[in-house]
């Protein structure tokens, strides 16, 4: 079977909806409803981007919020997951298997179920409308997968390396810092990217924890744009927003494609 045709189909299938958004975002509202080939000659504009970027709050604010939450969640997750993965790898096989299975179940869990109780918690602790507080549930939700991925990476390191470091008098912190973590850098990068993507895209918790307009993360802002009447028949503006909201991810995926793939596939192998 030839490869070219299915490959073309797969790329078109992935890209066409995205390209259509790009196209739409550059058209005036009038041009969008025109029919026929002549319509392509006119109606090009950057006004949609201007409208989105000059909104109140401006669109970049949502990008900034999402970046902040993503960075904080990723940092917190790694901080907890790295020692946990090391600790898990050092457990007896039976206990390790049991904990791993529970973590796997948690990683698969449809977490949307959890939002009500988490919202109650946020209210009780006055964490509503606190961007950084989102890092706690995000880290909690990301930890199962992160620990499993890093545990598998620790298991792949030859045990003799750490033994050699112990004999030379390195303590646990020195062994992690000087020997094990540098070797785990690729796995840590993969895990970090996956956690960041999750935090960037998370919706139900951000939706219920954040109500202030200027604190919204990108997914919630998008949904709010979709539901609001501020932009009347605003498909050009919608599209400009989806392009702006998608661009950082596009960059991330292009740059870190290898880490994302290895993170996902590692996840599959150990599962």
């Amino acid at each position: 079977m030839p490869t070219a045709l299915p490959l073309l189909a797969a790329l078109t299938w992935s890209l066409l909806p995205l390209l259509w958004q790009l196209l739409t975002s550059l058209r005036t509202p009038e041009a969008l409803v025109l029919q026929g080939p002549s319509a392509w000659l006119q109606g090009w504009t950057l006004a949609n981007y201007r409208q989105v970027l000059q909104g109140d709050p401006p669109f970049w604010r949502y990008l900034f919020n999402s970046c902040l939450v993503g960075a904080a969640s990723t940092g917190l997750t790694l901080l907890l997951a790295i020692p946990a993965a090391y600790g898990l790898q050092r457990q007896r096989p039976a206990l390790r298997g049991g904990i791993s299975l529970l973590l796997l179940a948690a990683a698969m869990f449809p977490y949307v179920l959890l939002f009500l109780a988490l919202l109650e918690l946020a209210r009780a602790l006055s964490w509503g409308n606190q961007l950084l507080a989102l890092a706690l549930p995000y880290a909690g939700l990301s930890l199962p997968l992160a620990v499993l991925l890093l545990r598998a990476a620790f298991a792949d390191l030859p045990a003799e390396l750490e033994d050699a470091a112990r004999l030379e008098g390195l303590n646990l912190w020195q062994r992690l810092h000087r020997v094990l973590l540098p070797l785990l850098a690729p796995a840590i990068a993969s895990t970090a990217i996956l956690v960041f993507l999750f935090s960037w895209n998370e919706y139900p918790i951000a939706l219920t924890w954040i109500s202030r307009n200027d604190l919204l993360t990108l997914p919630v802002a998008m949904a709010r744009i979709a539901g609001s009447s501020v932009y009347a028949v605003p498909y050009g503006a919608f599209a400009a927003a989806t392009v702006l909201g998608g661009l950082p991810l596009l960059a991330l995926v292009l740059v870190f494609q290898r880490q994302i793939v290895s993170g996902l596939t590692q996840g599959a192998v150990k599962g």
Binding site: A164, E168, G169, L170
Partner: protein, 327 residues
């Protein structure tokens, strides 16, 4: 009893209900090299890890230069180990590999440099300082691992199958070098191997382990000629020792090189097959006392019907029940 060197008494290791090492007692003097020899799973690597402090001891004592280190952490024992994989830190250069341990032990920088330069010269590693382990040959890696171990200024040097990652030719070449180096250093050396040739080439004495129990310890000659039991007799020597049907309750054994072909008066034997090995040849013989292996000159062209004999003094006699050698 002297206090210098390594002494372990009744050393045991139990994991769950499995006894990996059962009451091992050994002494190794400074400058002496001991090989721990045995099939895989016999407890030799377990012993090494107990001595290094990498696994906890279940029973017995370890004393190093008079100090009881049975329960000291690995990092405080001043024991060095060359691992089977060499365990060089792959992300660090040769120099950084050697320096890491000195650095965490807070050796001042000038002294670090001096000692590293010394050991690099000793092991002929100059010029490789900036290389990563992946850029080194197998022999070079072994020497870096050895250099790192020597920099530990160990009270005891452990080597875990140090030759198993090298090809056969390189092994023959490096064995004498390694032996000379280990002898010069002046600390007790224990090295683990399943290869009897390596054990005989590197060690002053050999300890044979089987099933977590020490079978015999002695010089290679003692072990070969006066094995304590049937296991040691069968484990040492290639081609393997011949077992003969003997009187009730006694198992006779004779080494293939001690069998001779004679014209008459010997045990009648029929030639089954032969294997030419260059300097000599190996004959498989069918006799009334069982199948026998005989080592003969390479140029001999034997007929099919032969007669074979041996000196009664060369016979080894073992108890059929216990396997112990009978005097």
């Amino acid at each position: 009893m002297t206090t210098a060197g390594l002494h372990c008494e009744q050393l045991s290791r139990r994991v769950g209900d499995r006894l990996l090492l059962d009451g091992l007692s050994l002494s190794v003097a400074p400058g002496e090299s001991l090989a721990l020899l045995g099939p895989s799973g016999c407890g030799k690597t377990t012993t090494l890890r107990l001595l290094a402090g990498l696994d906890p001891v279940s029973g017995g004592r370890i004393r190093l230069d008079g100090e009881d280190v049975t329960h000291s952490p690995a990092g405080e024992r001043q024991v060095a180990m060359v691992f089977q994989s060499y365990a060089l830190y792959p992300h660090l250069s040769v120099l950084a590999n050697l320096e890491l341990g000195l650095e965490v032990r807070r050796v001042p920088a000038p002294e670090r440099r001096r000692r590293i330069a010394e050991v690099l010269a000793l092991l002929q590693l100059e010029g490789l300082e900036r290389r990563r382990p992946a850029q080194l040959s197998g022999g070079q890696r072994q020497r870096v691992a050895l250099a790192r171990a020597l920099l530990r200024q160990p009270r005891l040097m452990l080597l875990d199958e140090p030759m198993s990652n090298l090809d056969a030719q390189l092994r023959d070449q490096l064995r004498p070098e390694l032996r000379a180096l280990l002898h010069r250093a002046g600390h007790p050396v224990i090295h683990v191997t399943h290869d009897q040739q390596e054990a005989m080439g590197l060690a002053d004495r050999i300890a044979v382990l089987e099933g977590g129990v020490l079978q015999q310890v002695g010089t290679p000659q003692e072990l070969y000629h006066r094995p304590a039991n049937l296991f040691v007799a069968r484990f040492l020597g290639r081609p393997g020792i011949n077992l003969l049907a003997g009187e009730a309750g006694v198992q006779l054994a004779i080494r293939p090189e001690q069998l001779r072909l004679v014209e008459s008066g010997g045990l009648p034997a029929r030639l089954l097959r032969r294997e030419w090995q260059g300097s000599q040849q190996l004959l498989w013989l069918d006799t009334s006392r069982g199948e026998l292996l005989l080592l003969a000159a390479a140029d001999l062209t034997p007929g099919e019907q032969l007669q074979v004999t041996w000196k009664p003094d060369d016979e080894l006699r073992f108890s059929s029940a216990s396997g112990e050698r009978l005097a």
